[in-house]
Symmetry: C2
Subunit: 348 residues, 2 copies
């Protein structure tokens, strides 16, 4: 059995320890500088305060100061940091990583460097300064709190090297954690990032319905929600194409599956519903005080990227109309006015 270090002790980083420990591996869970209270709680009481669960005995919680000793003797490393932490983690790990150490990452996001969109594994590779590293992207529908309760879950591990993806898949897969591997990380990473933006959008009609006095039940604005869901997949495919990935990826676990699970409540949906109810962006953000809104981060990246791609003619003026309107809702205080006629490359 292996020894595996996870860097980042947030919900997903920690939940990722469950299938590893259940396979018999020893896990060294190293907190970032943001995770001190979590590490302290686990060391004191074995309890993860955000997951609200006792962490399995096979997990050793360590502060960031012990990262180097944790990596000593580790057979693999998983990055459990958020997208904002990827560059930091890469720079921090650069002098510490053994060549060829299997590396997986759960962060969801896209990197815009002013010229092109990149997937986070590529941004990480740059930050590490190592051409030979093949970060394995972990994607697919997986709520951390459910994984840590051993809910049957299907995920995708993707890297340009199928062997790298399979090495990590073999560490992790087990009776409730079903890992499918893929040698095309672009599609997987685009979906993982964009689903937060689109899930915000799919939640907006519920807010519109509620603001109009509607209640829960089978009569709502579900027709509209489903149209937005389908258009979201359509646009994910287009962004994958822009980055040179395989568009069909959006039709399975990483796109359809992850968008579905992200629409089951959570922060992103709550924020979208508030916008639908008519709150201005700053009011809606104030109501979500303290919550990280990944949808805003990716919408902002996507807006800057699509504006540039439109200027250069890579992207047509009518493309990605839903993403465009979502940015108007989330940043500009626009009223809800879905551009249906521009969906699916145009009515008729």
């Amino acid at each position: 059995m292996a020894t595996i270090t996870i860097l980042g002790a947030g919900m997903m980083g920690t939940a990722f320890a469950w299938p590893l420990v259940d396979r018999g591996h020893a896990v060294r869970l190293v907190g970032t500088h943001l995770d001190d209270a979590i590490i302290e709680s686990i060391r004191d009481s074995r309890r993860h305060p955000k997951l609200d669960l006792v962490v399995p005995a096979g997990v050793t919680a360590l502060p960031l100061s012990e990262l180097e000793s944790a990596l000593d003797g580790s057979d693999a490393i998983a990055l459990g940091v958020s997208s904002a932490g990827v560059r930091w983690a890469g720079e921090r790990l650069a002098p510490l990583l053994d060549e060829g150490l299997p590396l997986a990452m759960v962060a969801k996001g896209l990197d815009w460097n002013g010229e092109k969109l990149r997937i986070l594994p590529d941004a990480l590779r740059d930050a590490l300064g190592r051409g030979g590293v093949e970060p394995v992207a972990v994607a697919g529908p997986c709520i951390a709190g459910e994984l840590a309760r051993r809910v049957p879950t299907c995920v995708l591990f993707a890297a340009r090297s199928r062997a790298a993806a399979e090495t990590w898949a073999e560490f992790a897969r087990g009776p409730y954690y079903h890992v499918f591997s893929d040698d095309e990380p672009i599609g997987v990473e685009v979906c993982a990032a964009l689903k937060n933006a689109y899930a915000m959008g799919v939640a907006v009609p519920a807010g519109v319905h509620r603001a109009a006095g509607g209640g829960a039940g089978s009569i709502g604005l579900h027709n509209t929600e489903a149209a937005l869901f389908a258009q979201s997949i359509f646009e994910m495919r287009r962004v994958i194409e822009l980055l040179g990935g395989r568009v069909d990826t959006a039709s399975f676990l990483a796109g359809v599956g992850d968008l579905d699970v992200t629409c089951n409540g959570g922060r992103t949906g709550r924020f979208g519903e508030l916008l639908g109810r008519g709150f201005a962006p700053e009011e809606a953000r104030a109501q979500m005080a303290g919550a990280t809104l990944e949808c805003l981060e990716i919408l902002s990246v996507l807006r800057r990227a699509t504006e540039a791609y439109r200027r250069s003619g890579v992207l047509g003026p009518d493309e990605l109309p839903l993403a465009e309107h979502l940015a108007e809702l989330a940043f500009d205080g626009a009223r809800v006015n879905w551009p249906f006629a521009r969906f699916f490359r145009g009515e008729a």
Copy 2:
């Protein structure tokens, strides 16, 4: 403005009148022999008892005995009957239809003739005995009660003749009914039919969760539901391929969109949840007394078809594992045991 006959006064047949009347058309709504009470109610009080709405003034409700006179002077006809009524409607209409009358149909299902699966527009054409008729399939995420409340809705009208699809689209499209047309009806019809079977499956984990004492909220078995959702789209694509249609159709309105909306409650989902809670199929059916369960009809057709396709080697033994297990749950009283390892053509 046109005069349009709708045959079938159930929820969807009647709801389809709204966008037509709002475009200024006169609608003759002709009930089948199953719709006598509905037609009587509309004639007495203008109220549709199942939609629980007042039918617009532009709709004239007529009993089946007036079908022939209704068609006299009609510019188009829509079939609002269920899949079980398609053959009946075809035979009934055969002597009455003018050559070239634009014909649309909202029925969802597949026809298995012992040798091959066919889409319902093709079964209808056979029943009509007319080679030249191009039935336009109406598909996409559309809850009837929402359409009749003018909820913004996106649908697909598909026929092998794009012109036929567009003729009907022009009758119907309007400010809340966004019609996209397509010249490939196979994919559209396969999705429209299969979504009922798969929506039953996506609802099962909620029942399993509830039976285990779980409540509503963001921690449930959503990871499992999302994996089933993604596998459903994967299998829809395979069935489309078997019938010679365009697989990508499953990734947009007709597949992803319609599956999403069908997972928002309704009869199919209630039945799936009952199975997940551990009720035997006959007990679950008894609890749904009186409700038409389209999921059972399509699962039965699909089981017979896939067994034959497997025997002849057209379909591999490992393909469509979710559909296979759904039939075991719905008909054989099997315990829930998702064949995850066979999803997406196999783990690894």
